[in-house]
């Protein structure tokens, strides 16, 4: 069954909730306008369950209603994990066998972004969602540069540390700063390294679209909820794949 519609309290009822503001003084006209918008969005019938003035010029609405759209889950495009999920022990073993040295990961938040929550969740030993961070992996050498690292600083440090992989976290998205910064970063690495020597570039943050890796010039984009184990598994898969250790 790949065709579905929203579920309120009965299969197939199509019920959704929606809230928004219109720049209209609170009035019957405003309520009617809210219904009209909901109708145009495919909600029919639409029920304004709450409308409230916000100052003299605005009204806030909560609308419940039934949508007539169907969605086809077989036509949804997502980035499925195309590498095996490894335990820390397996990651360590793969690095040891494949590289015969520690794998170096350099990471930080670039640009003016001061939110280290994401990079810390992945890199700090404390980790995230019950998984230990990359610092916990014996065979990974982790250099966390923290917040507000400039792209040249990141490149320089990656070269100095002979980084195998570079992780960049971006939380601030105002005016697409995360996309601009990521493109600047990937361009700088392409310029600083010959194509076959460039470290693996991985970028992550809550507002990234995981399908944009190619467009941003990086090897992988990780979105909201990514765990350290997923990142470690991906890096090892690309740099020191466990089963093909000899062939590579």
């Amino acid at each position: 069954m790949t065709i579905v519609r929203p579920y309120g309290d009965t299969t197939g009822d199509g019920m959704v909730q929606l809230s928004f503001t219109l720049p209209v003084p609170h009035s019957k006209v405003a309520d009617g306008a809210a219904v009209q918008l909901a109708n145009k969005m495919g909600m029919d019938p639409a029920l304004v369950v709450h409308s409230k003035p916000m100052g003299p010029d605005f009204t806030f609405f909560v609308v419940y209603g039934r949508v007539n759209h169907l969605v086809d889950t077989s036509k949804v495009e997502v980035v499925e994990r195309d590498y095996p999920l490894l335990t820390p022990k397996e990651v360590n073993a793969a690095v040891k066998r494949g590289l015969r040295r520690r794998l170096v990961v350099v990471g930080g938040c670039i640009g003016t972004d001061a939110h280290t929550v994401g990079i810390d969740a992945i890199m700090n030993i404390k980790g995230f969602a019950g998984e230990k961070g990359l610092e916990y992996y014996r065979e990974l050498k982790v250099v966390n540069l923290g917040a507000q690292v400039s792209v040249p600083q990141l490149v320089e440090r990656a070269r100095a540390e002979k980084a195998d992989a570079v992780l960049v976290s971006q939380v601030v998205t105002q005016r697409d700063a995360h996309l601009l910064n990521t493109r600047e970063m990937s361009a700088a690495f392409r310029e600083a390294y010959p194509a076959d020597r460039r470290p693996l570039l991985v970028v992550g943050g809550p507002r990234f679209d995981e399908t944009m890796a190619r467009e941003l010039g990086v090897d992988r984009v990780f979105g909201r909820g990514t765990t350290p184990g997923e990142v470690a598994s991906f890096i090892v898969h690309r740099i020191a794949p466990p089963s093909k250790g000899v062939a590579a």
Binding site: T21, F60, T116, Q148, V172
Partner: protein
């Protein structure tokens, strides 16, 4: 003195303060021995040097750069600059800055009678600037008397952040109408790393609006209108942090800002600014805030965005004690200490609310006369706006129960979008409901003497003392607090004293060093 709701042992509390003093004292001595480019530029600004050249570089920067190239930074800017003015190199500071920028003035360090004359002239002109700051402070007092103060505590603190001062103004006025007692204009990300203060009204910024003297003036004037309209004085907040902290503090004093974010260690930990640069700039800016009657807000909440809020609770208390010491040393009074803390414990943790209550009450009782700045959850705001609204409600409840002075309104859309109009409305509805519904509930709220909350508070205080003892322990930290900062004690950031941004703007004072601003500010203390 009453022992409060937590029955904290006064001997232990005194010990904690004594340790903070012991840890902080060497930093103050270090700060006294150094100056920075920003302290010197702040002195020029206090003396009335404003404006920028055609490229937008402030005259304060242009002038200081020439002075520094000619005679170095270590003697301070006052002697060479006012020596040049006494020698009639230019009729006033602004002209001198332009001439210096054009390369037609050479500076020297005056000696003997020339030095005495230069000092007197500098002191007179900087003193006039301080009098302007004093006048702004009296003006605030008058306006509070005329319009009335915020109707209750906690004061409701709301943020605007459009990047465009002309958009900020109507938003701020609307927020005040909706009940905000304090408006904070968030700065453009990255301003803290600029080594100059941008000039003029600005309409472009990233995730915030540049702090400039003109933006300060425009927003304060708009909120003066709102204060008259609403019949209560609406306060304005900005950020004295980053590489230009002393200058921003001075501009805040000159433009009658009411509160400034001003943390003793934030720049070091979260902006990677050199520790010595920060401590020198900090001391000067705090002296200015003390003089200007500005309430400072410290940034302990930030530690909990990178470290675990339970494990690191004692680092917040430690930092509060250090901030208190540095603040008092700089002349700030208790009513000016908006010491920070935050509701950041993982909500999935059993008893997380009791732990929050314990931490907030500990801050309240340790600093009974400070307003305290209570910061909403951010770290565990997941994008689930329904859960977020509930968490904010519990945050507001702690604020009410523990008598916090300044409550930053939490947004259920934290980590999703910059707040929408409706987000702010829903958030304020949440605050109003909790404050109305609980009323003076704090009068009835007395945690059991040996219960979970009292024990947790005592435990955090005990860990605070352990940490302060480790900081001042010469075997573990021969360099004291600087070493503790270097090894990641706060917020898990490691910041060595010989690294970080802005170190090249620091100089050790020479024996000829003179700064009339520091002299006047310290005389008054």
């Amino acid at each position: 003195m009453t022992r409060g709701k937590l029955d904290l042992d006064p001997v232990t509390v005194r010990k904690a303060r004594a340790l903070a003093r012991k840890a902080g004292r060497p930093i103050v001595n270090l700060a006294k021995k150094h100056t920075t480019v920003s302290v010197e530029r702040a002195t020029l600004r206090m003396a009335g040097l404003a404006g920028a050249d055609g490229d937008g570089i402030p005259w304060a920067n242009r002038l200081l750069d020439v002075v520094r190239a000619d005679v170095g930074l270590e003697h301070g800017v006052a002697l060479p600059v006012w020596d040049a003015l006494v020698r009639n190199e230019a009729e006033d500071l602004a002209t001198l800055a332009q001439k210096a920028g054009a390369g037609s003035v050479t500076f020297r360090i005056p000696e003997g009678r020339d030095a005495i004359r230069a000092r007197a002239a500098a002191r007179r002109q900087v003193g006039a600037g301080l009098k302007r700051i004093d006048a702004r402070r009296r003006e605030r007092d008058r306006m509070i008397k005329r319009h009335g103060d915020a109707p209750r505590t906690p004061w409701i603190y709301l943020i605007v952040a459009t990047g465009d001062i002309m958009e900020d103004i109507p938003q701020a006025q609307q927020a005040a109408r909706e009940g905000a007692d304090v408006i904070a204009v968030i700065r453009s990300t990255g301003q803290s790393l600029l080594d100059y203060v941008p000039e003029g009204a600005t309409r472009e910024g990233f995730a915030g609006t540049y702090a400039t003297q003109e933006n300060f003036r425009l927003m304060r004037a708009a909120l003066d209108e709102s204060s008259a309209e609403l019949g209560r004085y609406v306060r304005l907040t900005n950020y004295a942090s980053g590489l230009c902290m002393p200058e921003i503090a001075t501009l805040a004093g000159l433009e009658r800002l009411d509160m400034m974010l001003n943390d003793s260690m934030y720049g070091i930990l979260f902006r990677d600014i050199n520790p010595i640069r920060t401590f020198v700039d900090q001391r000067f800016s705090r002296q200015v805030h003390a003089r200007a009657g500005i309430i400072i807000n410290t940034g302990e909440d930030n530690y909990l965005t990178t470290a675990d809020a339970v494990e690191a609770a004692h680092t917040v208390t430690t930092s509060q004690l250090l901030n208190e010491f540095f603040a008092k040393e700089a002349g700030l009074e208790d009513w000016q200490l908006g010491l920070g803390h935050a509701f950041e414990i993982d909500p999935d943790l059993p008893n997380s609310f009791r732990l929050e209550l314990a931490h907030a009450l500990l801050a309240r009782e340790l600093f009974p006369d400070a307003p305290l700045k209570w910061m909403p959850p951010t770290r565990h705001m997941s994008g689930d706006v329904f859960r977020g609204n509930l968490l904010d409600g519990f945050f507001n409840l702690v604020g009410s129960l523990t008598g916090q002075g300044i409550l930053l309104v939490g947004m259920m859309t934290e980590a999703v979008v910059t707040p929408w109009l409706s987000d702010r409305d829903i958030a304020l509805q949440n605050v109003r409901y909790v404050l109305n519904a609980t009323g003076d509930l704090h009068e009835d709220f007395r945690p059991a003497p040996d219960g979970f909350i009292a024990n947790r508070a005592r435990q955090v205080l005990g860990e605070t003392i352990d940490l302060l003892e480790a900081i001042v322990d010469t075997e573990q930290h021969p360099g004291g607090l600087l070493d503790a900062i270097a090894d990641g004690t706060f917020g898990l950031m490691r910041r060595p004293a010989d690294a970080g941004r802005g170190l090249d703007g620091v100089a050790k004072k020479s024996s000829a060093y003179y700064n009339p601003a520091t002299e006047l500010l310290e005389e008054a203390q």
